[in-house]
C-alpha cells in the first residue's frame, strides 16, 4: 500500500529547475532510495517533503494528506522525521537532551509546569521521566549508553550520525528521511550504520527514505530505487532494474561520446 506519494513535484531556484516533475510512491515499511550525481536535486526533494522549501507545483501526500504548504513543525507532527547531510544536531545539548527533542511532540509540559517543576511527582517531573525512559530505550537500541550525558558537539563523527538517527527515531515517525547517513564513514562504519537502519526499521515499522552515494549499500538494502539527474527522475524500480537501465550508467559514468574516443 502506498502510504506516501509524491506527484509531479517541481521547484526552481532562480530559473534553474532543482526539481522537475518528480513523482514516486513509497510503500509502508519499505526502504526507498534516491540516487543521482551531485546537484541532482535529492536534498531539495527532502527539503520539500519536510516543509523547509515550498515547491512550485505538485503535491506530496502522506496517507492522503497534503504536505505541501505546511510548516515543518506541522509536517513533523504528521510523522515525518529526517536527518541531515551535514549533521544538524543541537551541539551543546547532551545526547539525551537531543533525543528528548525528538519527544517534543509527545510532551505537554509548558512554560509554567516546566518552570515550576517541583519534584518527581509533579506533572513535568513525571513526564520527563516517562519520556527519558523511552529515549533511554532508543539509546540502548543504538548502543550509545556511554555517551548518554555528553554534549553531542564533542562526540566522534560516526556517533553523531547515529545520534541524529536516534533523534529522528525518537519522533516515532511513519516516514523517516535519511540524508546520506553514511557520508564520511569508512566501510566498516557504513556496514554498521546500515545494519542499524535495518534493525530500527524493523523494530519501528517506519518507511525509510534514503539518500546515499554508496551504491553497494543502496543496491543491497533498498526495496525501490529512484535515480535522479538534473532534478528529473531518470529511472525507478528495484535495484536490479535500475542497474540495468542504460540512462543510469550515462548519468553516472557520462555518456559515450564518439569524438572523445577519437582523441
Amino acid at each position: 500500500m502506498a502510504f506516501f506519494r509524491v506527484e509531479e513535484l517541481s521547484m526552481w531556484f532562480g530559473g534553474l529547475a532543482a526539481l522537475d516533475g518528480v513523482g514516486f510512491e513509497i510503500l509502508q515499511g519499505s526502504i526507498f532510495s534516491v540516487i543521482g550525481p551531485n546537484g541532482a536535486g535529492k536534498t531539495t526533494l527532502f527539503n520539500c517533503i519536510n516543509g523547509i522549501y515550498k515547491p512550485a507545483s505538485g503535491s506530496i501526500l502522506l496517507n492522503g494528506r497534503e504536505l505541501t504548504g505546511q510548516k515543518p513543525h506541522a509536517i513533523a507532527k504528521l510523522g515525518v522525521a529526517r536527518t541531515f547531510q551535514n549533521i544538524e544536531l543541537f551541539s551543546q545539548m547532551t545526547l539525551m537532551e537531543n533525543l528528548m527533542l525528538g519527544r517534543h511532540l509527545f510532551m505537554k509540559t509548558g512554560l509554567f509546569r516546566g518552570g515550576f517543576m517541583w519534584g518527581r511527582k509533579s506533572f513535568a517531573g513525571r513526564e520527563e521521566v516517562l519520556h527519558r525512559k523511552k529515549a533511554g530505550e532508543l539509546i540502548e537500541l543504538l548502543e550509545l549508553q556511554e555517551y548518554r550525558g555528553r554534549p553531542v558537539g564533542a562526540l566522534p563523527y560516526g556517533i553523531q550520525k547515529r545520534v541524529e538517527l536516534g533523534r529522528a527515531l525518537a519522533m516515532e515517525p511513519k516516514l523517516i528521511l535519511l540524508d546520506e547517513p553514511c557520508a564520511g564513514m569508512n566501510a566498516e562504519e557504513r556496514r554498521d550504520m546500515i545494519m542499524r537502519i535495518k534493525t530500527v526499521k524493523e523494530a519501528l515499522g517506519a518507511a525509510v527514505f534514503l539518500i546515499e552515494h554508496d551504491m553497494a549499500i543502496v543496491m543491497d538494502i533498498s526495496d525501490q530505487v529512484l535515480v535522479m539527474n538534473f532534478g528529473k527522475p531518470v529511472a525507478q524500480g528495484t535495484p536490479g532494474q535500475v542497474q540495468a537501465h542504460p540512462e543510469v550508467a550515462a548519468a553516472y559514468l557520462g555518456e559515450d561520446d564518439p569524438d572523445e574516443c577519437l582523441a
Binding site: 550525481p37 546537484g39 563523527y157 551504491m215 550508467a249 553516472y252 559514468l253 557520462g254 572523445e260 574516443c261
Partner: protein, 249 residues
Amino acid sequence: MNASLELKDVQTGYGLIQAVRGASFAVRRGSVTALLGNNGAGKSTLLKTVMGLIPGQPQKGEILLDGERINGMDTESIVRLGVSYVPENRAVFHQLSVQDNLIMGAHVRKDRRALKTDLERIYEFFPILADRVNQPAGTLSGGEQQMLAISRAMMSRPRLLLLDEPSLGLSPFLVRKIFHIIRIIRNQGVTILLVEQNVRKALAIADYALVMESGRLVSAGPSTDLKNDPRIKDFYLGLNIRETQEPSC
C-alpha cells in the same frame, strides 16, 4: 624531478570527519591527472587541502609543489606560486562583470600590459564571454559561469590547474565543450589535476587516473589501464563483479 605536485601521506580532517586518510601521489608535469571516486570519497577535500583552504590542515604529511613544501602556507601565497583552482561551485563574483571577473583572475600577475592580450585571447576563445563582457557574472548560465571560472583561473597563467568537477550540473553539450577546453589548456602545457564524476569523460582526457574511496587512494595508474578496469563500473553502479560491456571504442 618530474612531478609538479606531490603529496606524501596527506591526512585531512574536516571538523569531525577524517576526510582524507593518507594520500600519496604525484602529478606529472604537463599531464592531466584525473582524481575519481564517489561522492564523499574525499576528492574535493584533497584539492582544498592542497590550496590551503582548510585551516590547520593537513594534519599530517607533506604537499610539495615543484619540490617545495607548501603545506601550512595560506591560500593567497599558494596562488601566487602559480596554482589555480576552480572550485566545485565555480565561485565567480556574481555582481562583478565578466571582464572584472577575468581581471580579478590576473590579480597576482605583475605584467599589466599582457593582460589586454590575454583578455583578447580569452574572448576569441569564448565568444560567448565576449558577448557578455559587461554583464554581471551572476546572470550567466551555469555553463557560461563554468567557462568564466576556468578562463579566470587561466588568466593568472598558472603552472598547475586544479579543477573540481567542472562538468557538474551541465548539460551533455556543455560537458563536451568544457572537456574540449580542458584539452586545449593541457595542450598549452599546463599541468592539470581534475576531479570528476563523469568517469568516461575524465578517463578519456586524462593521462593518469587516481581512484579514491573513503579518503584513501585505492588505485592509480595510466588512465588507459583504468579505463579497462571493470571494477570501476562496478564501483560506481554498485554492481557485483559481473561481465560488463566495454565502451564501444
